[in-house]
């Protein structure tokens, strides 16, 4: 099996014609489940970036991160960890823009501006 983290360089399943067999639906589901468990543990411990704060994440969510990394390939683990940070920043940016917009609107309204 190619998705074991301790096997170093993975030796993925070969297809009969030399292609590399991708994770199927059930192994994808296993990976996503591991990811969700790990991320909810990170949420509980207020950790966003589990790449940068790797030590902290492993100390607080040791069991979860191990299961996550066992269920997914290394590239997927990296992808999901980075995606979490990206989505966090995106949501924060959207939040900030919304707040700025609301502040601008209330400021204009106080000056007698009407949205209609």
């Amino acid at each position: 099996m190619g998705w074991l983290p301790w096997s170093g360089s993975p030796s993925p399943d070969k297809a009969s014609d030399g292609g590399r067999i991708a994770p199927d639906r059930s192994s994808r589901a296993r990976c996503w489940e591991g990811r969700d468990l790990f991320f909810s543990c990170l949420d509980r411990n207020n950790i966003v970036d589990s790449v940068k704060d790797d030590k902290e994440a492993r100390r607080k969510c040791g069991k979860e991160v191990e299961e996550f990394e066992a269920a997914c390939s290394q590239t997927w683990v990296k992808y999901f960890k980075e995606k979490r940070v990206m989505e966090y920043n995106r949501d924060k940016t959207i939040e900030r823009i919304k707040k700025e917009d609301a502040a601008k609107v209330s400021e204009l309204k106080s000056q007698g501006w009407n949205s209609k």
Binding site: P10, G19, W76
Partner: protein, 304 residues
């Protein structure tokens, strides 16, 4: 636009015809009733009142024509009643409202159709940004598959790779739902061809693709090719292509790719994008509208 107006007046005529058809039976139903009741009714009146009865009978016989009625209206009561309503009656009001509603509905439908047509024809002709074009790939049986094979059907093209972590599987599940919805409505699985083109030919061989796509929908046509063939098709469809050329055996990597579905018409011209924000419902609605427009215009479709 003249064609539109012609169709509108046609519609008006249809509504008017409909109304008169609706009117006739009721007047026929009332007439015998009047004929039976008035004479016996009249007999009870004095001589002076008799002509009046005869008059109203004559008026009712002339099938409620207002002109005939006007010439015979003699009493103040009849005149007053006519003046109070004028030429307006419930029939006129109904005709007015129905025609108005009909026209409004018609124009709204027609406007939506023209808007779709505009979108569909945006990629035809000269000076338009071109999405899609000639390519040579191979299908899962190893047979050559070119852009010509997409013609004659609406095709629904998606680019992805089987080692894709989360977006492609979600989108392919959506694709499967769309295929089923379109098939259900058109009752025909020949005019709509879903296509999956891999961006990762080194790992995605026909055997891998077949097993992968089978999990989503057996109707999806999987295509792969050499590195350069895939790079070319990605360029034709304006898909960002970042696959590394020389991959060490066993190396694991991700591929950036477009996350849009491309709807192509039977001339293999680009029609519309379906993106992440679309649901299977909204996507299949868009697709079915284009298929119906194509059929209504009587353009050819391959049905084998």
């Amino acid at each position: 636009m003249p064609a539109t107006m012609g169709m509108a007046s046609n519609l008006f005529g249809r509504v008017a015809r409909h109304l008169s058809a609706f009117e006739n039976p009721s007047s026929q139903r009332i007439l015998p009733l009047l004929r039976n009741t008035t004479p016996s009714h009249c007999r009870a009146y004095t001589q002076a009142q008799r002509p009046q009865c005869g008059q109203s009978m004559a008026a009712s016989r002339s099938s409620f024509s207002t002109t005939a009625f006007r010439s015979r209206a003699k009493t103040m009561g009849q005149l007053r009643q006519r003046n109070s309503t004028g030429p307006f009656s419930w029939k006129a009001a109904l005709l007015f409202v129905l025609t108005g509603a009909g026209m409004m509905l018609y124009f709204r439908v027609e406007k939506a159709r023209l808007e779709r047509k505009r979108i569909a024809e945006m990629s035809k002709g000269v000076g338009r940004p071109k999405v899609g074009g000639p390519f040579v790939l191979k299908d899962l049986d190893g047979k050559e598959f070119t852009a010509e094979d997409l013609k004659g059907k609406y095709s629904f093209v998606y680019f992805g790779f089987t080692h894709c972590p989360d977006i492609c599987p979600d989108e392919l599940d959506k694709m499967a739902a769309i295929i089923e919805k379109v098939k259900e409505t058109t009752k025909d699985d020949k005019i709509f061809m879903p296509v999956f083109i891999t961006c990762d030919p080194a790992r995605d061989t026909p055997a891998v693709l077949r097993a992968y796509l089978q999990e989503f929908h057996p109707g999806i046509v999987g295509l792969t090719g050499t590195y350069d063939q895939v790079k070319n098709v990605c360029r034709q469809y304006r898909v960002y292509f970042s696959t590394p050329r020389d991959v060490k055996p066993g190396e694991d990597y991700l591929v950036d790719h477009s996350i849009y579905f491309y709807l192509m018409d039977p001339d293999n011209d680009f029609v519309e994008c379906i993106g992440r924000q679309d649901t299977p419902e909204s996507a299949s609605k868009v697709i079915l509208e284009h298929i119906n427009d194509w059929k209504r215009e009587g353009k050819p479709l391959k049905t084998e």
